[in-house]
Point group: C2
Chain length 423, copies 2
């Protein structure tokens, strides 16, 4: 497509999405669940077609020389198709957030004022190689009453189109507009540029992928963006920590999985317990193959060669791998200060038995999740009971932390009267 074609393609697509969003906002819970079930059934019946479309993407990827990790993310194995189908059914089983009315109270004037949860409208999602995101994102938007415009990675184009066909068929089988979920049929980058700058048709953009993608979209978007950049998570072992809990939680926060955004990247230890706690922890980390980079005090406490001096950049780095920076701090104040200066606002934990210190940390640390005596690895929509997750927001606006169905809704005021007038 040339530029004019893209322009008009996106503009038509946007109008369709807006129109579909009105029907979706009205849709009943039963209709939405029926569509999700129909999509699940369709994907199950069309496994062969999905695998075939996916094979085309994989072949093209190999030809283009994509690396093994990317090819792996791209592949639709039978197990991944299973879990895509299972995901749709899980979202069908979640409570419908739309239409919930709360805080309905009488006012002195006699009117009743309350709030009602409503869809945002049209949600645009831009993602990279995993084709299963197509089904997942479609389902979350649908259940929350939003129309969706999806733009997947160009390397997954055929897989995404095959999934999109089943999504559309499922919507239509349930009597909902097929345009409620539109997957872009072009891989032209200019379409993304339009997608993030059409507030008349798309109300919010959720980019999922690498930091570069997210930064570019945030900079250029003309609509609100629900985004999550780095996860530079901290665990602070307080002077009043239970050493057993500290050992267990810190080890889990770093080593349970390395590549996730809720993995601890920096360990802060109060100087009063550093000598007791650090050597044993360092042994455990090293046994797991974790490289340690410490402040001078931390390094001095560990046997030579077990800890490299941390550079300034280390305190601001999301390693996403088996590396950990360690700093010995004077007390909880210095820990909170370090976090304020270096955290990405994702998740921080304190290990302490002290009531007042725990209470202060909870209140004063300004991150999307703040924990006491628990592993940062718990920061996750499923662990929090949201049932599903479209991403983790490190912004303070609108949604903060794991974003589930509720994060895809807005709240309006409702007023019930009986002919009331203002005097």
């Amino acid at each position: 497509m040339n530029e004019t074609d893209i322009e008009s393609y996106m503009s038509v697509l946007g109008q369709r999405a807006r129109r579909a969003s009105r029907a979706l906002a009205r849709a009943t819970t039963a209709e939405k669940n029926a569509a999700l079930e129909a999509m699940a059934g369709g994907l199950d019946a069309q496994r062969a077609a999905l695998v075939e479309a996916n094979a085309r993407d994989l072949a093209a990827g190999r030809e283009k020389g994509l690396d093994a990790a990317l090819l792996d993310r791209l592949e639709l194995t039978p197990a991944r198709i299973d879990s895509m189908i299972e995901g749709l059914r899980q979202i069908a089983s979640l409570p419908d957030p739309v239409g919930e009315i709360f805080d309905l109270k009488y006012r002195p004037s006699g009117i009743q004022v309350g709030r009602m949860r409503v869809p945002l409208g049209v949600v645009g999602i831009i993602y990279e190689s995993r084709p299963n995101v197509t089904a997942d994102a479609a389902a979350l938007c649908l259940k929350s009453g939003n129309a969706a415009v999806l733009r997947g990675g160009s390397e997954a184009f055929h897989s995404n189109q095959a999934i999109a066909a089943e999504v559309r068929a499922g919507l239509e089988r349930a009597g909902l507009p097929g345009d409620a979920v539109q997957v872009l049929e072009t891989t032209d980058r200019a379409a993304v540029g339009r997608m993030i700058a059409m507030p008349e048709s798309i109300d919010v953009i959720i980019p999922r992928g690498g930091k570069g993608l997210i930064e570019r979209i945030s900079r250029e978007a003309r609509v609100p963006v629900i985004k999550h950049l780095d996860g530079i998570c901290h665990t602070y072992i307080d002077v009043d920590a239970d050493p057993k809990k500290a050992f267990k939680v810190a080890l889990n926060a770093k080593t349970q999985r390395y590549g996730t955004c809720n993995t601890m990247e920096t360990l802060l230890v109060a100087e009063g317990v550093a000598e007791d706690v650090l050597p044993e922890l360092a042994d455990a980390f090293i046994a797991k193959g974790v490289e340690l980079r410490g402040c001078p005090v931390a390094c001095a406490l560990l046997a030579p060669g077990r800890c490299q001096p941390a550079s300034d950049a280390d305190w601001d780095t999301e390693y996403l791998g088996p590396i950990l920076s360690i700093r010995v701090v004077a007390d909880v104040d210095q820990a909170i200060e370090h976090i304020a200066a270096h955290s990405s606002g994702h998740t921080e934990a304190i290990i302490t038995e002290n009531y007042t210190t725990a209470r202060r940390f909870l209140r004063e640390v300004d991150s999307s999740s703040v924990m006491v005596n628990a592993s940062t690895r718990f920061a996750d929509g499923f662990e929090y009971g949201l049932g599903a997750e479209i991403g983790i927001s490190t912004d303070k606006f609108h949604a903060r932390g794991p974003v589930g169905l509720e994060g895809l809704t807005s709240v309006k005021f409702i007023v019930l009267g009986d002919g009331h007038i203002r005097t």
Copy 2:
């Protein structure tokens, strides 16, 4: 100041605001209330100085040839100083939103997950001529634990500085940082340009004023904006309306005050009742001096000369004055469609005795306030029980509808464990 001076002035001011915001986020309810009381006392004691500073602004305004309405808004009369002081005390008496913990529940893993209400950080407010906004905005930001950067209209410069001095003194008397509320000491427009584009120091911008100001700021801001543009509010008289309620509510929605954003601008009437309802209503509107502009059907129902034909532009106009557009529609579907096409998303009301129609209107109309059998004039923070209002948001993101203390906060997740790790 030249450009470099503005740059460095704003950068220092921003750093001070950020630092102060941390202290404010920690501040106790008692400290914040003490500061509000101290400000109220200070303003009360300094009435003479306020009036003197205001007289300088008024004199300069007269010299510049400002119109009477603007000069009136600018004036700090004794009654306005009273209500400014009263406003501070009222905000002191409101519950503190910061630190509220809710939805704290055990998860199957054993962790407790909940949410805590926290300040946004630093709030920037840009407003026009009324100097009392300085005290009002300072108080709302302070009570919600946010530092504030305020930029008032240049015509109110001396008045704002006089109020700012008392605000700062009040903060300091209560042991809080004076930098928690900074009023710009320059009227240079370049400072506004900086203010809306320093995400490292200011987290959100709230513009209050004319549409031009708000549109410009929304377009250029590099941080989220809580904004409210037009109030094109509709009242729909349904076929099942009680005619007495319809008469009373529609008249009130238009004529109780003309210049407010929650005033009705368009009346929609179901054709089944138009003949019964419209003539009497039109008489009442005309008796109050309201000019009527109708669709052909509406005009045909009214005596010649009592209704002018509405142009296309009328359906999209916020009159803010004694003019009303009237359209006869087929039914609630067409009313909802008209609203979707022409409303500014502020406030819409239906007059009906029909349960199902009311329920549909509440759910399907996508505005910040949706009402049944009540005057749109109720859309207001005080009427809703928010205790105070910094503005009315017609956006769907973050805050929607009247924005009180809660709209100036964010919500983070908290996790309480006992050494819990993820497996």
